[in-house]
Amino acid sequence: MSIKTQMVTPILDVRNVNKEFNFHGRKVPILKDVSFSIHENEFLSIVGPSGCGKSTLLRIILGLVPPDKGEIIYKGERIQSVSPHMSMVFQSFALLPWLTVIENVELGLEAQGIPKEQRQKRALKIIQEVGLEGFEDAYPRELSGGMKQRVGLARALVTDPEILLMDEPFSSLDPLIAEGLREEILKLWSDKSTSPEIVIMVTHNVEEAVYLSDRVIVLSHRPGTVLSEFDIDLKRPRNKRGQELYELVDKITSLIA
């Protein structure tokens, strides 16, 4: 771990996480002794080859899947079920096709028992922030991939989470759409008046990870274990096509390949 990250108390601690899956009666280890911490205002990416358990790790952090061994500590407390302080954006958008944009967004609040009127007010505000204004009444089938992912993002943000988890959020999008959406995620995260404070993103795209993150964690082939951590000390706004960025991308890629 770097000196810089040791000095502050972490918001979230991933401690010695292990996970196995049963596959046709055989136990397959997916994650092995994974430990790292996440600090305030940090944008963290987890990269690794496919099948290294990075998506499983994200689900364990959220509290959706329990680890076999190890624990997730959020502000000193152990996560034991889905945490209300976190929400997740999925690669596949995971929208309900029979609900409109605003109804899909409000869904994030319904579970929290917030009255209808308040739900609508909050949903409309987030819809505006993520650029969905004008599409409130649209159904998912009427939307492009980029707009669908904005709905996924709005649904995640409407609960005002401290930590936003993103599982390959750009990988099923057209490259141009992904380009624009990355910028918007950065804007949302860097605006200190809005949530989230922390973003944890899983991606197989090293360039994307380096461009967006303060720190990149590299997982090994299955079973995934932390191979290395990189502090990305490039000044923001960053030049996506700059030499310094590419040097880091090369270094990290050579670890994975």
Binding site: E129, G131, G134, L181, E184
Partner: protein, 154 residues
């Protein structure tokens, strides 16, 4: 081309990428960088050109002053800017006039399609009506409720 026929999010992506390249770049180079075929990129370039955000010149594309101004806005500001820009296109001008003439200030999707075919001579009027709704929504000019099948002015 009467209105853009690509997704708005792609237009934004192209403009953002172009800004990263310092506002001017060779078309082949940016296509290669974005991992896109030229065929994929050209309609987006055309759309940006139609809106006055970008200029093409001997194989290069560059941001116009208006394009730079558009990008400097936040999410909402961009939509407002886009809306103003769309209103300068004949397509939207005539459509809004048409909707305004209706008693309840609304039309169905079929009425839109017919209007585009008959009044604006669009050949593929069905597809163009989808783009009209999409861009009208982005520019905060139109609302569309598919359950009631009503297109209204915002």
């Amino acid at each position: 081309m009467s209105i853009p026929k690509v997704h708005y999010s792609r237009l934004i992506g192209l403009l953002e990428a172009l800004e990263d390249f310092g506002g001017k770049v060779d078309i082949a180079k940016i296509a290669d960088d974005l991992n896109l075929e030229l065929d994929d990129l050209l309609p987006v370039i055309e759309a940006a050109e139609l809106l006055g955000f970008l200029r093409t010149e001997s194989g290069d594309i560059s941001l116009t002053n208006e394009g730079l101004e558009f990008l400097s806005n936040g999410t909402r500001g961009r939509k407002k800017h886009l809306g103003k820009k769309l209103l300068t296109l004949d397509h939207f001008k005539k459509l809004i006039e048409f909707i305004n003439q209706k008693e309840d200030k609304s039309i169905t999707k079929e009425e839109l399609s017919n209007f585009l075919a008959e009044e604006l001579h669009e050949i593929d009027s069905k597809a163009v009506s989808e783009w009209t709704i999409e861009w009208g929504r982005h520019g905060l000019l139109l609302r569309y409720n598919s359950k009631e099948d009503k297109i209204k002015l915002l």
